[in-house]
Amino acid sequence: MVRQVLLGDEALALGAVHAGLSAAYSYPGTPASEIMEFLIRLAKKEGGFKATWSVNEKVAYEEALGASFAGKRAMVSFKHVGLNVAADPFMNSAMTGANGGLVVVSADDPGMHSSQNEQDSRFYAQFARVLCLEPADHQECYDLARRAFDLSEATGLPVLIRLVTRLSHSRSSVETGEPRPQNPLRTGDWKDWTLLPVNARRRFRLLIDRQAELLRLAEALPANALILNDKDRSLGVIASGIAANYFREAAAKEESAPSFLKVSSFPLPEKLVRALVGHVETVLVLEDGYPLIEKELQGFFGVPGKRVVGRTSGAVPASGELNPDIVRTALGLAPLPSRAPSGVPLAGRPPQLCVGCPHADTFKALNEARAAYPGTSVFSDIGCYTLGALPPYNAIQSCVCMGASVGMARGASDVGVRPAVAVIGDSTFAHSGMTPLLGAADANADMTLIILDNATVAMTGGQPTYGSGERLLRIVEALGVPKEHLRTIEPLPKNHGKNVQVMKEEFEYRGLSVIVAVRECVQEQRKRRS
């Protein structure tokens, strides 16, 4: 047995490789990026499997699905909101089923460290009616990744693994096992995979019929653990995934700990839940995310004779990431003695654009160019440039989801906003900005799209981008943007006046224009030179 120092993300990735992975796909997004980073490094070093950054999460999912159709083990990973993008193939893959093992990894971000919401991926598994596993520590990341492939092949369905930021980005040592060989090619049955209504109805009945088996498999997962306290029946705790660690951290310091159920699988292991709830008077539910377990226990009418408390009751804050201190409080334990906070007022240090960042120069020019149009808004998107919403730039007024800026500018233009301006990065444009621009070009919508081409996916650590440089210009032109209104600028302080002029001209033009601001990310430039 080998022990290795790994991030939670990396432990999961290695577990998948050792389970006989043939192909993995992803799109960068915190906190999931390190899964694919690790797989690409390993594939380069040892070979034997494909590891690819895809154009977006939907594409990544479909690529993995194709590999599964061919009988091979495939994995797709992304951040939680990536599963929204991939929701269509995800939901329908529960209908087609998986041929080779298909594992979907969705890394949630409770507390929104780097995200626009804290949606809980466990609901997606429930929605699609497939198994969901939730590891609590690094060893489980490795072990459950292996187990997920077995479960996927045993049920003929995709299996979702839910991670959270705190585990994705925590490092510890992991004991690894022997790798097993990959599957041979063995294509799926077309009647299962062609979701015409006649096939889809049959597949859906089959999916419903399998639910009892999924429950049995979820209940049998060894990572679930029930510890009953026979002396004190007042309180029992149900904790899912990483929340179990915070409970055990607190409990380890006490002489007598409440009865405890650690949940690592969904559908909820019903027998274990019944055993715990039957044993105690009050049940405290700890889950890092939405109150899924808590609400399932409560239903409309509650559990007769029992109190169920958690995020909904107020015993745990309704939003935000859990931590050992919140859990101590929820357990009714006094805070540990600690040092008084420092007396010096602590100036905040929010994240900011790097010194010399090309986006900063683009925002300065943009602010000056639109000063002539008071009250206008700039729609923006997901990336480093979202920091342009903060001082000193205050240059953008929206950030919703990947690619939203383009469609939103079009909609605002349709109802009379002049000028309607959108700002998007090169990778986000490739991900979800091309399709709305195709529609806007067809209508010659009166709007200006500024594409920030820094030749990388910068925010997540510099992954490759699909639409940059000459290729990006050719794509924009091919989508139907007239050549005379496809302008390029180089965002540098010395070009400020010129760049303001280009923006003003295009804001005045009554039709569709695209300005591409071309300059490499300073972080990537530094990496390339060192």
Binding site: P31, D325, M459
Partner: protein
């Protein structure tokens, strides 16, 4: 035997390299460890911290409970103050005295250092000066690691070995400079 450490600094100051060295030294010394770190948006010039837990027994939480941190190891003095209330009352602070001023309202430096000095057993090291002396201004994080090494429950030799491994791909000169930085930091902490 356990030690809970909060690593603090500003994104880009090399906190994760310090964490890498301590993690791998812990593995070599046969200790359990968990280390929670920050990636993504927060890394862009913002305040960053990493919770690093070492123990001879099982570690449950990836995060250090409030009041359990035994040490704050900071590459920047203002950032050291940010986590004071996470420490146990007898916790120690090992920090650089070199400010990283990328915000308009950075407080008076003497007041910041005075506040650190008030904490019993605090060690303040001029990491900028020592890193330059070692041969590379970039090694301030390793200077601070060296300073903290006096108080860590890890073997000095294990830490130095991982420093070597970490910088080996960048050539012998970089390895030498970082080992010098480690030793200078360790010496400075001894004199403090």
């Amino acid at each position: 035997m356990k030690q809970d450490i909060i690593l603090a600094g500003v994104g880009g100051q090399g906190i994760l390299s310090i964490a890498y060295v301590i993690d791998n030294a812990a593995l070599a010394d046969g200790l359990q460890f968990k280390q929670a770190e920050v990636h993504g948006m927060a890394q862009r010039g913002g305040a960053v911290q990493s919770h690093l837990r070492l123990s001879s027994g099982r570690i449950w939480s990836d995060l250090i409970p409030k009041g359990e941190a035994d040490m704050i190891l900071s590459v920047e003095p203002l950032e050291a103050l940010r986590y004071f209330d996470q420490m146990r009352p007898a916790g120690i602070v090992v920090t650089s005295s070199t400010p990283y001023r990328n915000i308009p309202d950075y407080p008076d430096l003497d007041r910041v250092l005075g506040e650190v000095a008030k904490a019993g057993g605090s060690v303040i090291v001029d990491s900028e000066k020592l890193a330059k002396e070692a041969g590379t201004i970039k090694a301030q994080n390793i200077v601070m690691l060296g300073a903290a090494s006096r108080f860590l429950i890890l073997k000095e030799e294990s830490l130095r070995t991982v420093v070597e491994t970490l910088f080996k791909p960048r050539g012998a000169a970089v390895v030498e400079a970082n080992l010098r930085a480690f030793d200078l930091g360790r010496k400075a902490a001894g004199a403090a």
